[in-house]
Assembly symmetry: C2
Homo-oligomer: 228 residues x 2
């Protein structure tokens, strides 16, 4: 029985959260004449959370939330050029090159011989497909699942659809909330590789002693898997 190794994409295979952080800094700069940074951040976060039910995850929804926040925070005084700037910030994010994290390409190449490799990523379908192409990593994966939410039910449905036994499935990702806890709850294995930035929405309290392996880099993954 060949084991399946599934990877999260954003901030596990390639840099992502840093792009949001850079864009949010440009957004703050635009609104700094009106408000201080902490208030801008807090209102943007509130708008994003409120809009998640309408927009789901991804850059297009983030752009619309920035526009809405900008209008709220300026009481509609932000002018057309300002709004245009926000639209362009969003478009620039979509056009960014996709930069694999250090070691990712080599490790995937190594593991492809012994494991069935898969991507399970949450977000905007169109955007995630484009990133996979731009990353140059697509050919390593035999299965790609782009989903709107990563909870226990989602993972259970994916394993069932592909006929993957729980005992032979391992998930690797940077989000304890989305990549680790729901997979452990199913009875499968999960490996946490933290990224240096975590979106506030994904933050959960960490147990003092971790019940799952935590690696500093994907480069440590083959050695860990060899011990199983």
């Amino acid at each position: 029985m060949r084991r399946t190794l599934a990877f999260d994409a954003d901030d596990t295979l390639w840099h992502n959260e840093g792009h949001y952080a850079d864009t949010q800094e440009a957004f703050r700069a635009l609104l700094r004449p009106y408000h201080d940074d902490a208030w801008i951040d807090s209102r943007l976060h509130d708008t994003e959370m409120r809009n998640l039910q309408h927009y789901g995850y991804g850059i297009k929804g983030f752009t619309l939330s920035m526009i809405e926040t900008a209008l709220e925070l300026t009481e509609d005084r932000l002018d057309g050029a300002g709004i245009r700037r926000v639209v362009e910030l969003g478009k620039a994010m979509l056009e960014l090159p996709v930069e694999p994290l250090p070691g990712v390409a080599e490790v995937l190449r190594d593991l492809a011989g012994s494991f069935e490799l898969m991507v399970i990523t949450k977000g905007d379908l169109f955007d995630q497909e484009a990133k996979l192409v731009k990353s140059g990593l697509g050919s390593h994966f035999s299965k790609i699942e782009i989903v709107s939410e990563k909870d226990q039910a989602t993972y259970a449905a994916i394993l069932e659809r592909h006929g993957i036994p729980t005992a032979s499935f391992t998930m690797v990702g940077n989000s304890v909330k989305s990549d680790i806890l729901p997979v452990l709850a199913l009875g499968a294995r999960a490996v946490h590789i933290p990224y240096h930035l975590t979106w506030a929405h994904e933050v959960v309290a960490s147990p003092v002693e971790s019940p799952f392996p935590v690696l500093e880099s994907i480069r440590e993954l083959p050695a860990l898997l060899a011990t199983w």
Copy 2:
């Protein structure tokens, strides 16, 4: 061998294009002080086509294209309240109830005994999943594929992934370009059920004598399938 019957979703299972038409009319009303309707429509269409490579299909991308067009057509003079109105038009589309077309629920119920039923729809993942839930039709389908483009390669990949032989696959949809021609090119069958509105991007020249069945309503589908 059980045959697979796959349905497009927007304007095949439920009303959709009418919502875009209604929204576009509200958008025109907002910009009528600046330009005539034909010019507004033409510039919005150009913006949508230009942005397709960035945004893909769906309401969020449409909303961003409306905002961009509104700024262009007013040389950035549209005020904050106007932009807010456009954001709200987009959000209202996302909140609309999903209204199945006449006969859809009954026909799916009838056919579920004899066919494996599937949805193959193009667009925004989050939005299409939400529509399937809101439609109440989800339980009729054993497979759901939400894709970013519907061309021959997409259909070939879907059939391969699910192990469906070409000869046992039939696609039903309202778009000759997306639902019919690429499926016929693969050697599978397709049934065209036109909707009374077609998005300009999906319009292709129709052959004088149709090489595929064209039905007026999904209600005629079981009788057609019974003759095969």
